[in-house]
Amino acid sequence: MIRLSRHHTERIVFAVIGLAAVATAVPIIVIVGSIFFSGAEAVSWQFLLEMPRDGMRSGGIWPAIIGTIYLVVGTGLISIPLGVSSAIYLSEYANDSYWTRMIRLAIVNLAGIPSVVYGLFGLGLFVLFLDLGSSIVAACLTLSIMTIPVIISTAEEALRAVPQSFRVVSVGMGATRWQTIRRVVLPQALPGILTGVILGLNRAAGETAPILFTGAAFFLPKLPNSIFDQTMALPYHLFVISTQVPEMPITIQYGTATVLLAFVLTMNILAASVRSWQRRKREW
């Protein structure tokens, strides 16, 4: 057997792990690059702000964009209060008991469920049983179930990262537990919570399967009027024009992919800048 000197080993190890890093970065750069390159010519103000025409083969994607914004905002309105409250309960109030362990286990498992299962669950519970129909509100509720575990686990982590000593000091000065949470713990954990919220909503913005049966429309000639209407949405629209419509111009497909990707990337960059703001602001 050949024995390598440790200097050689060092070089080989660095070469291998460096290659692994490059190998993971290359597909992302290629995918994003080629989509943006091919889609750039399709994207214009008209493309963004017009209704689709000719069976979606020309015109714009405005209803899909506005629909995705509706879904993200609606999902946020439901999942942020619920998720953050649950995280506060788990981190600040709950004792370590059988029930809290069960709740944590449920959260971890929820995060691992395939998204199509959420879609079918939403169809059964919200669309059919609660009779909300295929609608924005049913889609938002379904997306919320998917988003809440992400928000809970990142928010709980952010809350737990706030030093216990701050809580002891605050209570020692005559604060109630809620005053301590409200004035000391939450402000310190806020950037971490925001990161989790953005990542969770980002997933909601990009998913197709959960909204497929619960609120996404194949094509609508007008914008939705109420939360009980169906809506078009970017990821489902992309699926439709890529697979369901014959003689679809390729530029529109690339253009739609570019817009969806830009939407998701912007939110990711937002999350990253919140994280770095958090590190600079942190005082412990």
């Binding site: 000593s165 000091v169 209570v171």
Partner: protein
Amino acid sequence: MFDNPKIRINELSVGYDDGTQALSDVCLDIPENAITALFGPAGGGKSTLLRTLNRLNDLLDVSISGEVIIDDMNIFDRNVDVISLRRRVGIVFAQPIPLPFSIRKNITYGLELAGERRRAKLDDAVEGSLRSSALWDEVKDRLDDSANALSGGQQQRLCIARVLALAPEVLLLDEPTSGLDPISTAKVESSLQILKQDYTVVIAPSSIQQTARIADLAVFMLQGELVEWGSGEDLFSAPREKQTEEYITGRFG
């Protein structure tokens, strides 16, 4: 020796949920307007005793028996308002832990919790308490800077000041100078000498020497029990118990 006890402790026992008995049958009268110093080797129950006096141990799982009576009120009574108890009995910890606010906000925090909003009152409290803890002259021009920008000694005096701002009756200090340099320590000690005129001070000093310097009443604690107590002078010049003598002459601990 002291005939005006502010706090009477009767047969106080405290056990933690892991089975350790932190205090066993402690009986002690703590005099008003004096410095009572609890000293002894680590693990003797000094911190536990301090934290029991304003029920900060409630945050942990502890079992408590016995009585602590402050001005005729047993603090373990069911109808005691723990929040107002903690305002009357303030505590300063070994590590200076400023809250992640400005210097000013650290001091006004406790008052704002209780609903004080008047700017003049808050400003008075900031200046008064910072003067009492001998920090005013060093920070008066930068009250809105982060409290973390202060040195360790300044932070500890800030922590004393924010407790004083609540106008407590009793001041508990758990090794308040353990992380400080000698000059900062001297400043804290001399401010304690002034503070005791208005407050009942109970301190776990950082060293035997500090106990000897500041104690009006010195209490030697060993493994959760009070071994011996007496005026600072008496106890250090003529200890009655062999364990006390061995500890203060440096043969163990």
